[in-house]
């Protein structure tokens, strides 16, 4: 496989970089060991920061956030909901922080507007009666899946190649250059070898692991953050707690739901992470202080991501690590590897800037004088990415009014024709359709039943449409349900526990999936 650039990692940065390079006419292959946004890019709030959260800890990042946020609102409006945001404090919160907040924001160039408490309660009725301060900011929400899927889809239209489930296993290095890269397809087991001119490590929390394959040393800090999805949307706007950033202090609307988070916990490895029960309880307690309904509302799902932080040594609080990004040219290091670049750190809000700076460096290496175009060229709204949007599948289904197009996921109203288009788009890019990939690209399994009913319906539909054969359906069901379970397990009390018992009765009691090892 011939390519100028190999990008490792299919998160926001990697997919953004693929599009940036493709727009400059540079050929690239993106290898992702799982699927799009499998790491922190999919495990975050979907918050397009105004910057106000970082004003006291990291004013430079705050400023970057503000500029990039504005740019994305004009270039990728279909991925963004301009909700606006509030910073709110309740009785007992640090009064000095509250008093200093507007000035610190002003110094960093972040706009805030003081909001009268009565007015704030009208704007967001779920706010606590113990509200003592409220400021309006320019926060917005962004669908990180749509964003990355649109970035990669546009890059693919321009000739870039995406290899899902493909992991870099080895670099062959001669005279300080990576001559050959060995990759392994986890689905087929097939090995491939590539000889790209430049290799970009955009693997987020896995950046240290990938760099070590090239003998480079990056000291990563793995900071896990967990988040909870409510069954219903709780607020119109992004609600931030007006205090030093800590746990459970941001509530972000996401279409028909709200997302409450986060936590910050050190983990040993970015692999096999789970939202923990104590994190869930802590987030709920903290959130309920801001909005009491968060103490009693039904939660659908928990998830987590690992922030890709690069350590500068001697840290105590991972939130104090710069949220700015690191662009490392490994040709400039002691054990130089001249065609190897790492981009890590940063935030979802600044992904485009990270991709731009990385592409600039790549182009300098390749002597390509093309300027960045992602700063001016709008992100196309592609068909591939559209089904992540809550409400789109039901609207279309109702509009089409076709009784032959049956709903497979009844909670989120996703029909057979949506599954068909996702399968077709995966196939068009030489991908194999699997249930997790279909779930990632749609709302299937994301409603209250969390896959209890839709999993078998989708599996049998995929058999009927010849997408599945042999006994792979059993493994597909097991994998799909386990992925759902990861997010259900810490939230199993009250109704979700009732639902989970039914799920187990069906899938273990009747189908015996646990016996099909």
């Amino acid at each position: 496989m011939q390519t100028q650039v190999l990008i490792i990692g299919g998160g926001a940065t990697g997919t953004g970089l693929a599009r940036d390079l493709a727009l400059r006419g540079v050929s690239c292959v993106l290898a992702e060991k799982q699927d799009i946004n499998a790491g922190a890019s999919g495990g975050n709030h979907g918050l397009l920061h105004s910057g106000a959260r970082y004003v006291s800890s990291d004013p430079a990042s705050a400023c970057e956030c503000k500029k990039e946020g504005r740019l994305l609102k004009s270039l990728a409006p279909h991925c963004i909901e301009e909700t606006g945001g509030l910073f709110v404090a309740v009785e007992g919160d640090d009064e000095k922080y509250i008093a200093d907040f507007p000035d610190i924001c002003a110094n960093a160039g972040i706009e805030t507007h003081a909001v009268d408490l009565e007015r704030a309660k009208e704007m967001e009725p779920a706010l606590s009666e113990k509200l003592i301060a409220a400021y309006a900011v320019d926060d917005a929400t962004i669908d990180p899946f749509k964003l990355s899927l649109d970035n990669i889809a546009h890059a693919q239209q321009l000739g870039a190649i995406l290899l899902r489930h493909t992991q870099v296993t080895r670099f062959e290095i001669h005279r300080h250059r990576i001559e050959r890269v060995f990759l392994r397809d986890h689905v087929t087991g097939k090995e491939t070898v590539m000889a790209p001119e430049i290799i970009v490590n955009a693997s987020g929390a896995w950046a240290g692991e990938v760099a070590s394959l090239a003998g480079a040393d990056i000291d990563m800090v793995y900071s896990k953050g967990s988040l909870l999805v409510t069954q219903e949307r709780i607020s119109h706007r992004v609600i931030n707690r007006l205090r030093q950033p800590t746990n459970g202090d941001i509530l972000v609307p996401g279409g028909t739901v709200s997302i409450l988070g986060t936590t910050s916990e050190r983990t040993e490895s970015p692999d096999a992470i789970y939202p923990a029960i104590h994190e869930v309880d802590h987030i709920i307690e903290q959130g309920a202080a801001m909005m009491p309904v968060l103490g009693s509302t039904r939660y659908i799902r928990a998830y987590c991501g690992v922030r890709p932080l690069i350590s500068s040594g001697g840290l105590t609080d991972d939130r104090s690590v710069s949220r700015g990004f690191s662009l490392i040219d490994h040709g400039k290091e002691d054990h130089a590897v001249h065609n190897f670049i790492t981009i890590s750190g940063g935030k979802l809000t600044t992904f485009r800037l990270m991709a731009e700076k990385t592409a600039d460096l790549v182009c300098r290496h390749l002597n390509i004088p093309e300027p960045c175009r992602t700063r001016t060229e709008p992100l196309p709204n592609t068909v591939d990415a559209r089904w992540t949007e809550p409400g789109l599948a039901p609207n279309q289904w109702i509009r089409n009014n076709n009784p032959e197009d049956m709903l497979l996921c009844e909670c989120e109203m996703v029909s057979q024709s949506v599954v068909d288009t996702i399968v077709a788009s995966l196939r068009r890019r030489q991908g194999r359709p699997d249930m997790k990939a279909i779930g990632l690209r749609s709302r299937i399994g994301k409603g209250p039943c969390q896959g209890t009913f839709c999993s078998l319906r989708v599996a049998s539909y995929l058999y009927d449409s010849q997408a599945f054969s042999g006994n792979e359906g059993v493994d597909q069901l097991r994998t799909f349900l386990q992925e759902r379970w990861r997010g259900q397990r810490p939230l199993l009390w009250d109704m979700p526990l009732v639902q989970a018992e039914l799920m187990e009765a069906m899938h273990c009691g009747l189908y015996g999936l646990e016996l099909e090892q």
């Binding site: 049998s460 059993v474 397990r489 009390w493 018992e501 189908y511 015996g512």
Partner: protein
């Protein structure tokens, strides 16, 4: 406020799942003056298969051909399992009695000379069970002898693909062929209950047989999703077999399914004939013990509407899905009496990280601890009330989902508890 209806009885059965239905049935056979209360819902989710024991030890996933030998081993290995309060003979008697009762209600079951049977599921996997509805018996036989079979599925029936079954089970059951039909007279989505009601009529069965017949070439049996009637299923199967000239069988569908509806209808129609007064549209709102030791309940649909006084109680309210148990973020409670619930120390211990962990989730073994008469006991082992018994899935120290013992557990403990209630009352 309208005046409350008042009822008085010897025994109140709370719950209308399999355990509650079985308890009411046994109480009727003991001629105990019984009221049964509980909104029927959960039994609609029954697969129709009556398990007694499929798997033990569950972490090794070993299926038993002889469930009674399995139960003997289970009792030896886990003496706190509810089955250990009964022993094999009583469990067998309970099952036989229940199967005979269902037969009298027109719902025929088949067992394989006291051995377990194996049934193909819509996921293409094989399920080990004990008594199978007569309408599924030929399927167990066909699977066991790898009979070349035509599997019929229907356009619009979601979650049931003959191709999925054939592809998944093909290695252990070669010679399967698919036939996809449009269900006569429908378009778009096909609902199993609708189809089943239609196939209770001979004319519709004939229309279906006419569609299948041309495709029989080489097939020695025909398998269909479980839609062959609700009230006259056995008659329907026999009729189709006669028309097609080969054995015909049903395969379970996704729940809620007509297999559950048939069970519900059989119990609901037959129990009143044995003297049971049933309130299937009502649930228990609150409960108290009167100074004389009797119970007083209020029951109703959307609000309390009936006062029930009872000398004794069989609690068959199920687990979380049946609303017999409730959990908040910190603990599990019994919903009606707040009886002590044996449970893991904290929520972090309720479930494994792996959904399909072979040993099963510890929360599934939480529940009520009882004495040998199925009377709930407190932490010190003291009986909480001399005439309060608990049966079915609410009991602790069992994992009916993984052990594949749900129906057996419900029926056998109901048998044991009603028997104990009757005996203790005579003393």
């Amino acid at each position: 406020m309208p005046a409350m209806n008042e009822m008085q009885c010897d025994l109140l059965v709370i719950g209308s799942g399999m355990a509650g239905m079985a308890a009411a049935m046994f109480a009727g056979q003991h001629h105990i003056d019984t009221v049964q209360v509980g909104i029927t819902g959960e039994i609609n989710f029954a697969s129709g298969l009556l398990d007694v024991l499929g798997v033990h030890p569950q972490d090794q996933g070993i299926p038993w051909e002889d469930p009674w030998a399995g139960i003997r081993q289970l009792i030896k290995d886990t003496p706190d399992h509810p089955y250990a309060r009964l022993g094999v003979d009583q469990i067998q008697r309970a099952m036989d009695t229940c199967i005979a009762f269902l037969k009298s209600a027109g719902l025929h079951y088949t067992t394989r000379h006291n051995l377990n049977s194996h049934i193909i599921t819509p996921a293409g996997t094989v399920k080990t069970t004990y008594a199978v509805p007569h309408s599924m018996a030929a399927g167990a036989q066909a699977l066991a002898s790898k009979t070349p079979t035509l599997l019929v599925d229907f356009h619009g029936l979601k979650g049931f693909s003959a191709r999925q079954i054939i592809e998944t089970a093909g290695r252990r059951w070669p010679g399967l062929k698919q036939l996809r039909l449009a269900f006569p007279g429908t378009r778009g989505e096909l609902y199993t209950e609708h189809a089943a009601r239609s196939l209770d009529l001979a004319a519709n069965r004939k229309a279906l047989a006419d569609l299948i017949r041309p495709h029989l070439v080489g097939a020695k049996a025909v398998g269909l999703p479980a839609i062959l009637g609700i009230y006259r299923t056995s008659e329907g199967v026999t009729d189709l077999e006669h028309q097609l000239g080969v054995p015909v069988f049903e395969i379970p569908t996704m729940v809620p399914a007509v297999t559950g509806l048939r069970l519900r209808e059989a119990f609901e129609q037959r129990l009143p004939a044995t003297g049971i007064r049933a309130l299937y549209q009502q649930k228990v709102w609150d409960a108290m013990v009167l100074p004389n030791g009797e119970f007083r309940f209020s029951a109703g649909g959307l609000a309390p509407e009936t006062t029930i006084k009872a000398r004794g109680v069989i609690l068959a309210s199920g687990r979380f899905f049946g609303k017999g148990l409730r959990a908040d973020r910190s603990r599990i409670r019994e919903a009606i009496f707040d009886l002590p619930v044996v449970q893991p120390k904290k929520r972090a211990l309720w479930h494994h990280k792996d959904l399909l962990q072979p040993s099963g989730h510890p929360i599934n073994r939480a529940g009520l601890e009882t004495d040998e008469h199925f009377r709930p006991v407190d932490e010190k082992g003291q009986v909480i009330h001399p005439r309060l018994h608990a049966v079915g899935s609410i009991l602790a120290h069992q994992d009916w989902i993984r052990q594949k013992c749900g129906s057996g557990l419900s029926i056998a403990t109901a048998f044991g508890a009603v028997d104990a209630y009757a005996q203790l009352s005579r003393q």
